[in-house]
Amino acid sequence: MLHEHKLIHAFGALAELGQEITNRNNFQETIRTSLHLLSGALGIRRGAVARYSRFGHELNMLAVRGLGEDFPLSLLLTGEDERQFLSNGMAPIDIGEAQVLPFFQVHNVSFDQRRLELFVPLVVRDEIVGAIFLGEKATGEIYTSYDKEIICAMGQHIGVAIAQRNLMAEIERHSEENRRLFDEMRSTYHDTVKAFAAAIDCKDKYTEGHSVRVGKFSEIIAAELGWGTEEVEGAAVAGYLHDVGKLTVERKIINAPYRINAKESAELNKHPAVGYEILQPIHHPYTDVPLAAKYHHERLDGRGYPDGLYDREIPYIAKIVNLADSFDAMTTDRPYKARRPANDVVEDLTRNAGKQFSPEIVTAFLSGMLKELKGEDRTKRFRRLLGRDYMEAEGLATKVKYALNELAPTTPMTYIAAAGSVGSQTN
């Protein structure tokens, strides 16, 4: 009987929600009403509905109930979060399980204090459009599978409302005038980023052009991964700015013509965290630039710094920059170490796939290189960055093919296990 009552009440809410959304009222009001209907359907005391900005890669709260005024109104997502959302779809996730998501780790304390219990990604036609956060029920009971079904059904409606709104915004954005303004803003941003990169590289006389090259390598990787134009630009920016924290490290440490001691290295190792502090307050139109700076020295096996994160905890963009950074360190002369031959470097990347680097990213990078070596790609991206002679090292194409095969064997017969070795050293 009780169950029946609950069902009738919840269906009433669902019907009203459907009506609200088709009525095309004011968007903000529709979302606020939606949150009321969802909370009221199940007696949920706290919650929020957020819209996902593909542009800023963040969840922006549209309606918040009972979570207090200091609840974060904008949550930055990493590439990893996005992948997880997409593979999860609309199913509600218990907060305990959501804790592996990088963005959750950033806000864990805040979510915990507010006793959030459920998190629902809103995915419409394979695109993330938003998310719902839900706190405790007034009964104090945990969410049942029946509750979750209702939430999922209502979430679908809310997701569609947001998707519709996005479509409208898209149409508006494409109007000519807006397009022009947008392009201007974007080019100003790029100029600023490049100026910053130049400033960082100035400080380090031995690794001249490092930031710019890391930006370009990151760009190549993102493009090879099949990312869209905006995301590729974002990856480039993340690379340009990854070492921005070095601006606060003493010049003599950066330029030390010898291997630095422990104290100096502790000082240098602060640069990712400092970089994050510098970049976080800036509104970046692309991807997760601040997190790329913060985590570009993390390793898949948890042996990196500053936080010793493991594979899934590391934002995807940081993994890309890490590879680009390491690759540049290996392929340029350092005060205490000459650049290593191309064949060696390819071997190193392969050996450390799964330890330091993401195998998927190494594969993307090497595929890009192979295309150029085989003449399929005539843009000379690698030659421009590494010099012609370097790229014409004997047997390089074969080496790369062999490496790609090791990373992703097509048949078990051709599989050769990667031998263990310590990763490359970068700063």
């Binding site: 009552h5 809410a13 606020r32 209907l37 909370s39 359907a41 007696g43 005391r45 109930r65």
Partner: protein, 106 residues
């Protein structure tokens, strides 16, 4: 307009006790005015809020959400909330959704 209604249908018993009439606008987005009104009363020193349902026939999901908001505001500010003149169907609904765990029905 709703602000006016909310003010008009509410009565002040003493500084500490306030009665707010839920009416039927509780069931629409405009019902958020009830939350504002409660907040205003509490800020003015009210410690006992009474939400009166004599003019409310039924409460829908939006209404429930608004009432949960009222409960939240009161709890955060150390005030008490009671619901009065609630019909039987609505009491059952409040029971089912856990509202009665947080308020007295008088």
């Amino acid at each position: 307009m709703i602000t006016d209604t909310a003010t008009a249908v509410s009565a002040q018993l003493s500084t500490e006790t306030s009665v707010i009439y839920a009416g039927d606008y509780l069931n629409k987005l405009t019902g958020e005015q009830i939350e504002y009104e409660c907040r205003r009363r509490i800020d003015a020193g009210c410690t006992d809020l009474i939400v009166n349902f004599s003019k409310t026939e039924l409460v829908n999901s939006i209404g429930i959400s608004i009432l949960l908001g009222v409960i939240d505001i009161a709890e955060k500010n150390g005030a008490k909330v009671a619901f009065s003149d609630v019909n039987e169907t609505t009491v059952e609904l409040f029971d089912m959704l856990g509202l009665t765990k947080h308020v007295n029905i008088v």
